[in-house]
């Protein structure tokens, strides 16, 4: 885990910076916000910014690798953190850990996710090329989402094709069930 030693030594004296950073990391996704407590006004702003960045990196790396108590404690001990401060850090870390995990898991590319499906049953009577068609068919619309933007995939299928589709989806569901029982 990367830790900027110099900056963290300074954090050690300003325990409130850490708390603010923990909260800040989980609430602001892309905006870099400095903690603005009044106690920190007299601190050199550049140093404050460096400390804040270092602390954020440390916290995110700890969540990323699912670091346990001993790993975090030993890291902080190397930086001459007192036992009391380690305890404060660790309890705050535990409080926000789930939220940070969710945040990190949502970053990244993946194929569009299917959320919902709507359907229409229609009866095809005739069209301009062929008369007397007299066939029922389905219009299926899959509602998919990809990184916030939604898209609908529309297609038609006959009754047999829809049965085929549902059969395949059921096979997939069965294999999920079997895998979860192993």
């Amino acid at each position: 885990m990367e830790i900027r030693r110099v900056c963290c030594v300074h954090i050690e004296n300003k325990g409130c910076v850490l708390l603010a950073t923990c909260r800040g990391a989980s609430s602001c996704r892309r905006v870099f916000v400095l903690p603005d407590q009044p106690e920190l006004k007299h601190v050199d702003q550049i140093l404050l910014k460096q400390s804040h960045t270092a602390a954020t990196t440390f916290i995110l790396e700890a969540v990323k690798h699912n670091a346990d108590r001993s790993a975090i404690s030993s890291c902080l001990e190397e930086l001459a953190f007192s036992a009391e401060r380690i305890e404060i850090f660790y309890s705050t870390h535990q409080k926000h850990k789930k939220e940070l995990e969710r945040l990190l898991a949502s970053i990244g590319r993946c194929p569009p996710r299917i959320n919902d499906a709507s359907w229409r049953l229609q009866y095809h009577v005739k069209n301009d090329q062929v008369d007397k068609v007299n066939e029922p068919f389905y219009l299926i619309s899959l509602n998919t989402e990809n990184e916030g933007s939604e898209e609908d995939i529309n297609f038609t299928c006959t009754v047999e094709q829809l049965q085929d589709l549902v059969g395949k989806l059921k096979d997939a569901a069965k294999s999920v069930e079997k895998a979860s029982q192993m």
Binding site: N127, V130, D131, A172
Partner: protein
């Protein structure tokens, strides 16, 4: 129902009685080949040279024949109606029989070709799936996230040919999807649907 042939159409077909029945049979074969594969001007020129008539006459004759066949197949007219419609043209009995045979032998095929024309929405072709478990990603290690990855193959829809989309879903969405689509299938068997299917013919 009877086919109503326009004056232009009748004029184009009037070329047919002037040639032998063998030639009419040949024209019929050419017409069907054109319906299947598309027209080719060289064949018109070849036939025109052999029969010593202008290319246009041959072209109109073949096109008239094609139109007669597609209209008859489109409306699925019976033998009797077909003969009655063709009677209007004033052809001999033999020619009428040749045309009828042409229609009877190929109308199913012509209908299936015609039904491929109006596809403006993509149609389902196939679905491939697999079960994955995500273990880690760049921002977060040590995950256990099951997901079903699918490839939906579609046909047509303006782009022509096959298109495929890669999609993902989690197990609970998958179950929701299955129950929604099963409900869709169940409506086919409802009394309302059955009544409509029975009565619209």
């Amino acid at each position: 129902m009877l086919l109503v042939l326009s004056e232009d159409h009748k004029e184009h077909l009037s070329f047919l009685p002037k040639v032998d029945s063998a030639v009419v049979g040949e024209f019929g074969r050419i017409a069907l080949e054109f319906l299947r594969r598309g027209t080719s001007p060289k064949i018109y020129e070849g036939a025109a040279r052999k029969l010593s008539v202008p290319v246009e006459t041959v072209q109109h004759g073949v096109e008239g024949l094609m139109f007669l066949m597609t209209e008859s197949s489109k409306h699925m007219i019976s033998e009797v109606d077909f003969l009655d419609s063709v009677l209007v043209l004033g052809f001999g009995e033999e020619l009428n029989q040749i045309l009828l045979q042409l229609y009877l032998q190929h109308h199913a095929q012509i209908r299936s070709i015609l039904s491929q024309l109006p596809s403006n929405l993509p149609a389902y072709h196939n679905l491939e799936w697999r079960l994955d478990v995500q273990l880690a990603s760049r921002p977060l290690r040590q995950q256990v996230v099951p997901m079903v990855t699918m490839r939906l193959l579609l046909v047509g829809g303006g782009a022509g040919g096959h298109s495929s989309r890669v999609l993902q879903t989690d197990p609970s969405s998958l179950l929701h999807l299955i129950s929604t689509l099963e409900a869709a299938l169940a409506t086919m068997k409802s009394s309302h649907a059955r009544r409509i299917f029975r009565n619209i013919k």
